[in-house]
Amino acid sequence: MATVATNITNDPAPRSKISQQAIAPWLFLLPAFIFFATYVLYPIIQSFYISLYEWNGLYSPQYRGIDGFTDQQCLELGNRAGREPGCELTGDTVWNAEYVGMENYRNLYADPFFWTSLKNNVIWLLLYFLAIPGGLMISLFLNQKVFGMRLYKSLFFFPFVLSQVVVGLVFSWFMLPGADEGLLNVILGWFGAGPVNILGNNDTATYGIIAAGLWPQTAYCMILYLTGLNAVDPEQIEAARLDGAKGPKMLWYVVLPQLWPATFIAIVVTVIGALRSFDLITIMTNGGPGFYNTSVLAFYMYDVALSEFGFRMGYGSAIAVILFLIMMVYIAGFLWKMWRDEKV
């Protein structure tokens, strides 16, 4: 602090003021930083660490004087001596994980469900991008000033406000398999098609879930583009109109470049949305209809770590690490762009 003060002796503010300015930001940051480090930063490191272990999520109690004794041995010892409760507990517990090195990752490589999940993640990523042109189209359709337009815009945006759980339920019922159960099949019936059992079929279930996910995601992209269109420079549009530009040409050469900030955010939220997909899968198929046909890494990780077949925390963490590394590519790209913008 002293150096800061002496360096700027010409500053009109008194010295105490300068040191206050040097300390203040750290005091303001401290509470949030403690929270964030405890719940976000440190757990990331821990997950990397746990992924090198075999761990069922439990701890072993420690006994005084008799190291390495199991619960069962202590119980027997106590019984033999005719007293309760076996050895004396120290009150400590130890992490009972076993170090396995890269074993979890090697197992992942040989695990067909991991590859199915990864493949589905790629399908999600690719198809989720439909939300961006979809959102753009709806926003162009709605970018008019007619009576009641505000309400129309809100209602089109409405799906985004719903929980993914509700979206999942809504679409599960929409796609109910019987000919006169789900509304989708009723409508298909009017055209003499169907009935289809989208969520009950291994080949189509993932696409059914993605369709449900695209509903709110498209709404989000739409609202981004509506905001972007509001800020498009009207003079440029007029000038381009005088030059004879219209329709798709105008959109491509004049409007879209101005919408780049909106497109960029749409890409960011779409990628994150696609890679975070978990709720819809859990609600709509729970990974089925077969074994993990509709699973993605986020779902598989959860299921491995907290399933009824046993808690495989180390293996789950290894899956999480892979997902994290994939996401990190995008996060790094995003931060790089932010960094460039800051420099300007």
Partner: protein
């Protein structure tokens, strides 16, 4: 304006557009309308396989909704959601007002680095945090409590809120702060009396967004809680669905009830909600 304003087109096009609007909206919301219809039908219709007709019991009106409130754990789940969401909202917004101020106003070494740390943390997949956070919550004795969820949500949401607040404060006129400094106002008073009042729109926007995000959270609800005493409505609804298996009228009424609070919040605070979500879409 693009596309060309509809008033500049001929009358048939204008009328066509006006007619097309409600039709497109209907198509867009059709899955939701189907659920709304389900939610007012009688249970007998479903057991008889009459999904879309109106049977002899007719429509139930609000009857199914009444049953949701009186014959299930739904009110408890809703209350849990409120108890989890409101403190999270207050906590995350309060913390990020401070971080936003620190990162937006002061120039110091590591400023950008700390800022990027918050931003990056906000984008990580939940799964990388799951095992350690669940373990930590358990160690603190907070597994299956609402407090366990609140603490985690506050921490995680602070990432997004910091991004938002910092950029908002950056856009405020710096002269205000400089002027206050020349007057000899202390840094804490500048935060409290100069900057905080100007942040009201940002605070409003964040409150609505966080409310919606947390209310709609499902993943952490199933990872950190398991009993009706502490589960929020998104997780509770799966238990609810087990209770009313294949009773679509009850299940859809329950889902709609679960969706109402964030929807109401959105329609009441629309301007702020959209301002928050589209942050950066116009630059």
């Amino acid at each position: 304006m693009f596309p060309r304003p509809i008033e500049q087109y001929s009358a048939p096009v204008r009328i066509g557009y006006q007619l097309l609007l409600p039709f497109m909206l209907l198509v867009w919301l059709i899955p939701l309308l189907a659920v709304m219809f389900f939610s007012i039908k009688s249970g007998n219709d479903f057991t008889q396989g009459n999904y879309w007709g109106i049977g002899e019991d007719g429509l139930q009106g609000l009857g199914n909704y009444w049953t949701v409130f009186t014959g299930s754990d739904m009110p408890r789940y809703l209350w849990n959601s409120v108890v989890i969401t409101v403190p999270t909202m207050i906590g995350a917004v309060a913390l990020s007002c401070m971080t936003g101020f620190a990162l937006g106003v002061y120039r110091f070494k590591g400023n950008l680095l700390i800022f990027f740390m918050f931003v990056a943390g906000n984008f990580v997949p939940f799964q990388i945090l799951m095992v350690p956070v669940r373990d930590l919550t358990d160690q603190m004795g907070l597994y299956d409590t609402r407090m366990g969820l609140i603490l985690f949500h506050i921490a995680f949401q602070t990432g997004f809120c910091t991004l938002f607040m910092r950029n908002f404060i950056r856009a405020l006129p710096r002269e205000l702060i400089e002027a206050a400094r020349v007057e000899g106002v202390s840094e804490y008073r500048i935060f409290w009396y100069v900057v905080l009042p100007l942040m009201r729109p940002a605070i409003a926007a964040l409150c609505v967004l966080i409310f919606t995000f947390i209310w709609n959270d499902f993943f952490w609800a199933v990872v950190l809680t398991q009993s009706p005493e502490s589960q929020p409505v998104t997780a509770g609804i799966t238990a609810f669905n087990a209770q009313f298996r294949a009773m679509y009228h009850m299940m859809s009424a329950g889902s709609i009830v679960a969706a109402i609070p964030p929807v109401a919040m959105f329609f009441l605070m629309q301007k702020h909600f959209i301002a928050g979500l589209t942050l950066g879409a116009v630059k």
